[in-house]
């Protein structure tokens, strides 16, 4: 009973928030609606007993990703209204076909795989965080490390793309100007 009420409440809230995100013409409304939708999604993880995943969802999405988007929006002109694509019929048809195929696949796969055997079953007498740690650091250690390296690469690329010479904007200068700056630097170093 309680679970059903919570599920329907959070389903309604999540769908509403995400609909606002994809339909509004103000970028700031879209950002706030997306952030609240992420928090409501973490409620599903808590209902499903995946406590650690819910906490990670709040920390990573509402904390890190939304802060990153908020910083990114400072660079863009977000006060004006966002222009939209003029929808054509073929787009809508394609969209419906894709959604329908998706629904069929999502429903068919569990039914086909009804006799599925858990590969890494839930361990009795351990909390969710402990179970996650046991599986993550035994069976999924190499993907975990690869994900860590990927995050490192993403961090370095983000710093190099966005943070280098913020006042000079190397990307819009011609090659000759960049060469001049480099020579200037060398002179300063030499003198």
């Amino acid at each position: 009973m309680f679970e059903a009420v919570a599920f329907y409440l959070f389903a309604f809230l999540t769908i509403t928030m995400f609909l606002i995100t994809v339909t509004t013409s103000q970028a700031l409304y879209a950002l706030t609606a997306l952030a609240s939708g992420m928090i409501f999604i973490s409620a599903f993880f808590f209902i499903l007993g995946a406590d650690f995943l819910g906490a990670i969802q709040i920390v990573v999405y509402s904390g890190a990703v939304m802060a990153l988007y908020a910083f990114g929006m400072m660079f863009f002109d977000t006060t004006r209204e966002v222009k939209e694509k003029i929808g054509n019929k073929y787009l809508v048809y394609g969209m419906s076909v894709v959604s329908a195929v998706l629904i069929v696949i999502i429903f068919a796969v569990p039914m086909v795989a009804d006799n599925v055997v858990p590969l890494y079953p839930v361990i009795d007498g351990a909390g969710n965080t402990q179970q996650v740690g046991l599986i993550l650091f035994t069976k999924y250690l190499i993907p975990f490390e690869v994900a860590a390296i990927m995050l490192l690469v993403a961090m370095i690329s983000g710093i190099i793309l966005a943070g280098k010479k913020m006042d000079l904007s190397l990307t819009i200068m011609s090659d000759a100007e960049i060469r001049d700056i480099k020579e200037d630097k060398n002179k300063k170093v030499l003198s």
Partner: protein
């Protein structure tokens, strides 16, 4: 109706995925296009967590973690590229990227 099963979560995940697809198809601003991709990734995460719970298997949660990691790095790289593009062209509309002029 009152008993929440796996299908409820899968239907919810489908609805959210459809919303994300609609956002991807009708948005012209690249920043809002990124928001729509976040919705897509999150809807898949719900399906992973639900299947993990109802089959008693922890693999679904593991994949949800990796999806979150990938989403975070995608945001970092994507926003860096968007800032570079905005410095060059002054806008982040999808139409200005459709030509491959340097």
């Amino acid at each position: 109706m009152m008993e929440i099963g796996l299908n409820h979560y899968l239907i919810l995940s489908t609805i959210l995925f459809a919303i994300g697809l609609i956002g991807v198809m009708r948005r012209k601003n690249l920043l809002l296009l990124f928001f729509a991709t976040e919705i897509l990734l999150n809807s898949v995460n719900i399906a992973f967590a639900a299947i993990s719970h109802y089959y008693g298997d922890l693999t679904g949660q593991m994949f949800a973690f990796f999806v979150i990691a990938i989403a975070a790095s995608e945001v970092a790289v994507g926003l860096g590229l968007l800032i570079v593009w905005h410095k060059r062209h002054g806008n982040i509309d999808l139409d200005s990227i459709s030509t491959m002029k340097g």
